[in-house]
Symmetry: C2
Subunit: 216 residues, 2 copies
């Protein structure tokens, strides 16, 4: 979709114009966009990370981007001037501006954003398989279930596009999660309280330190 | 721990006394507690589902139990009178009272509470394995990561005790989650957008319908 729009607008772009996007995966888009842009027009990939489960114009919110990460993904082909101007533009939104190369960007968002979606929807999918206790599950769903699965209430079409546009990094992270769960499964089966505690402690420490900058 | 306390107090319990607990797993506890109780003393397992990631007296909060599920797990051995009295007592806290048999209780809480913990800590564990992008991950952790992993910031000792005290149902649900993730992995590898969309839609529908009664 982004690429077809770029193709559509490219004949009308003047020399010196800058183009950016807000897609959730960058490597493929940036590679293709740099080929589409006419000579003298620069594309700088962008990704504002301000997730909400609602979508559409009704979900608009002033200050949505404030203090949220906004990643730009310049490459060796990006002009310094184009990058500076786009940086100045998005900085005006009050965001936390970051620069990452497109490949690193895709792995980072697979980790912090696309894997949470896979896990959240996976938890719901696992739970809904237990049809014999469906009524009880619906009565007992608690704040832990609500928060862990919140992102599974997002737009399914957006989720599908995210998984398809960032396939390789998402698959790397899903496989890593399966490995983690199998480790936990083994420890629980062995009733290894000491190692379970260590596993949970490491996760807690990493999570707590990751979120120092984020309002809870 | 609960069982050793029950053993300690049992000599001092008068006939007609009622005993309850607030542990997160019920089958083993209820079975053992019914054996420990002196003749004429009734044990009714209880489980208030009001999770917070903080623990200790500092985390106390008036109204913590209000509108939250509070499960009692009577058995064939429970006297009707004891159940009525304990029901009246916990109802006074403003909870949503539910009765489940101990085995069903354990599967339900494995689904809505213990699996979310396993998944949340699993996501963090998977992400922290990507050491080469640790700094970027910490900068980009967004609200999706925050919510999906919130329960992983809970007390690790409590988490360990939960996994150990409810081993079998927890293992059943972890295996179900691994199956779900492998299904998703297969669909993404095949770039099967239609089936990914269906998978996400089903999860969204179930989650949205589970949480109708819970404040978001």
């Amino acid at each position: 979709l982004i690429l077809s729009k770029l193709q559509e607008i490219s004949p009308f772009l003047k020399k010196g114009a800058m183009v950016t996007d807000v897609g959730s995966a960058k490597f493929e888009i940036v590679k293709a966009a740099e080929k589409i842009m006419p000579k003298g027009v620069f594309f700088v990939g962008g990704h504002p990370m301000a997730g909400k489960e609602e979508s559409g114009i009704e979900a608009a919110e002033a200050g949505l981007f404030e203090n949220r990460p906004y990643i730009l993904t310049p490459t060796a082909r990006t002009s310094k001037k184009a990058l500076e101007q786009i940086s100045a533009f998005v900085s005006a939104l009050g965001v936390n501006l970051l620069e990452l190369d497109p490949r690193t960007h895709d792995l980072v968002v697979a980790a912090v954003s696309h894997l949470p979606l896979a896990a959240a929807a996976g938890v719901v999918d696992a739970v809904l398989k237990k049809k014999e206790i469906e009524a009880e599950i619906k009565k007992c769903a608690s704040s832990g279930f609500r928060d862990t699965t919140r992102v599974a209430s997002g737009d399914p079409q957006l989720g599908r596009d995210i998984f398809l546009s960032n396939r390789k990094p998402v698959l790397v992270l899903i496989r890593e999660l399966v490995r983690s769960l199998k480790t936990l499964e083994k420890l629980i089966r062995a009733a290894d309280g000491e190692q379970i505690l260590l596993w949970l402690k490491q996760a807690k420490e990493f999570r707590d330190s990751s979120l120092k900058t984020l309002r809870e």
